[in-house]
């Protein structure tokens, strides 16, 4: 995989071609697995970690799966490129910032990645555009079987797939759905949704930003329980609540349009105008403005840009992407200026394509 070309493309899951993609950005399945014959990563010696990495690298490169995965040895990848992979959600921040032998197998369309020597020896993830948990699970399940053909997993009949942290044991499954919920945030109904989800043991967190504050109004909903329920049960518990949240968000959007059409149109147009003309732009402001424009497009108030193009901008305006395009390190002020320059250029390009 050529990391230098990544900034001119985007992962398939960002393209907004999946079901309900106006509200559901993506669906993700993650499986935690470990080799039975080694200590978990945190307790493995450097030598053992190197052995685990070499074995898994071999298995991943020989995987009989379409698309084929390309393997990156992360201990030889420079920090900026590791951050680039984090921004594209191909690896976790933990794996990027840890040390020692570790790596990742990535499908060229970026819907699959297999992390090696994270907290668990293997973290397999599949991301799909829109509300498509079942498709993501099918891929993950098949890939898991292929990998297990060669890799003897740590498994007990009683506790299932054994993981470093007891919060993942059992299925090792984390199913999550990323939602864009600007109208529920604006109408302050989001708290009610959170409380309801927590009652049924689902976790909610903002995708960007600290703690519970989500910049860009992106929220991730995922299961917490991994033991005592089957994969299908876990997935269906999430799958069953998402349509309700989608309905609430759509309702809140229609209420906004009915009561404040002019004010909303004004906010969306101003956001778009600022993105097209500002000369300094923080990451947070960018997220906020892009979120408004995204809402505007979904409400039919803004028509010069597509949801897929907007999704891409959320990723491409992040620090490592900007620095990669420019080919050098930037401090935060330089980044803010580069970010706005990038936005102006990209939005002009999109406008020209449309005309």
């Amino acid at each position: 995989m050529n990391l230098d070309n990544l900034t001119s493309t985007s992962g398939e899951w960002l393209r907004a071609n999946g079901p309900e993609a106006d509200i559901v950005i993506s669906s993700r399945i993650r499986l935690a697995r470990n080799l039975s014959t080694y200590p978990f990563t945190n307790r493995a010696s450097a030598h053992q970690k190197a052995e685990i990495e070499a074995k898994l690298r071999g298995y991943i490169e020989k995987l009989d799966f379409n698309p084929r995965l390309e393997y990156l040895n992360l201990s030889t990848v420079v920090p900026l490129d590791r951050q680039l992979l984090v921004e594209r959600q191909l690896i976790s921040r933990e794996l990027a910032n840890s040390e020692g032998p570790r790596g990742v197998g990535v499908a060229p369309n970026e819907i699959i990645s297999i992390l090696v020597n994270e907290e668990d020896h293997i973290r397999l993830q599949v991301i799909r555009s829109g509300f498509a948990l079942d498709d993501a699970w099918q891929d993950a399940d098949q890939l898991d079987d292929k990998l297990e053909e060669r890799a003897p997993y740590a498994f007990s009949e009683e506790f299932g797939y054994l993981t470093a942290c007891p919060t993942n044991v059992g299925t090792g499954l984390r199913a999550s759905v990323m939602l864009h919920l600007p109208a529920l945030v604006l109408s302050k109904h989001i708290e009610k949704v959170f409380r309801a989800l927590q009652k049924i043991n689902l976790a909610v967190r903002g995708l960007y930003g600290e703690g519970s504050r989500a910049s860009g109004d992106f929220y991730q909903i995922s299961n917490q329980v991994t033991l005592g329920k089957s994969e299908t049960q876990i997935i269906s518990e999430i799958r069953d609540v998402i349509p309700q949240i989608i309905t609430y968000e759509r309702q809140a959007r229609q209420d906004m349009l009915r009561d404040n059409r002019h004010a909303i149109l004004d906010r969306c147009s101003r956001a778009f105008g600022t993105l097209k003309s500002a000369s300094m732009m923080t990451s947070e402001e960018t997220m906020d403005l892009l979120s408004w424009v995204r809402l505007g497009v979904n409400l039919g108030l803004v028509d010069q840009i597509t949801i897929g193009e907007l999704n891409e901008l959320f990723i491409h305006t992040q620090p490592a992407h900007l620095q990669k395009v420019l080919g050098k390190q930037l401090d935060s002020e330089e980044r803010n200026s580069e970010r706005s320059r990038f936005l102006r250029a990209r939005l002009r390009e999109i406008e020209n394509q449309m005309n």
Binding site: D145, P152, Y153, F155, G160, Y161, L162, G170, G228
Partner: protein, 165 residues
């Protein structure tokens, strides 16, 4: 606040309660060390902690504290402090204290999900191999050499097929 013995800024503050009477002492680092107050405090802290833990888990804690995984060497207390297991075998070694923890996290203690298909296959092959080796021993003992050779080849084939590539 100043040190009561030398007048330097006081960094160590000690409250003593003797026969229900409270007395406050303030010392700088140096004077506190001279009077061996710091060391004394450390000792007290350990004693207090032990008594608190003892109250809750009593004798059980001794037993748990001695639990060590023979595979990865992690002690139960280390696992408890970090919240992470050291190796797959820990789920067996720490099974008893893990059960209430898993119940609290997951409200379930038994896996009902996917079973790795190839592990089942591997396990079946292992059982078969054990059976074949037994037959081989019997064949050799009863001097049925032709049968023994056939079994030997069969075992070899199965062993090779089981080698993960």
């Amino acid at each position: 606040m100043k040190c009561q013995s030398c007048g330097q800024p006081a960094l160590v503050h000690l409250t003593e309660i003797v026969n229900g009477k409270k007395r406050e002492n303030h010392f700088c680092q140096e004077c506190a060390e001279k009077q061996q107050l710091l060391k004394q405090q450390d000792l007290n802290l350990t004693a207090i902690l032990q008594s608190v833990i003892g109250q809750h888990v009593g004798a059980q804690v001794d037993e748990l504290a001695r639990l060590t995984c023979p595979s990865c060497g992690i002690k139960y207390m280390e696992f408890k402090a970090a919240g992470r297991c050291g190796c797959p075998r820990d789920y067996d070694v720490f099974r008893v204290p893990l059960l209430p923890l898993l119940e609290r996290i997951h409200r379930g203690v038994r896996h009902v999900g996917k079973i790795p298909p190839h592990a089942v296959e591997r396990a079946t092959v292992l059982v078969e191999l054990r059976e074949l080796r037994k037959l081989l021993r019997e064949a050799v003992e009863s001097e049925a050499y032709e049968e023994a050779a056939r079994l030997r080849d069969l075992i070899k084939d199965k062993e090779n097929a089981d080698e993960p590539g």
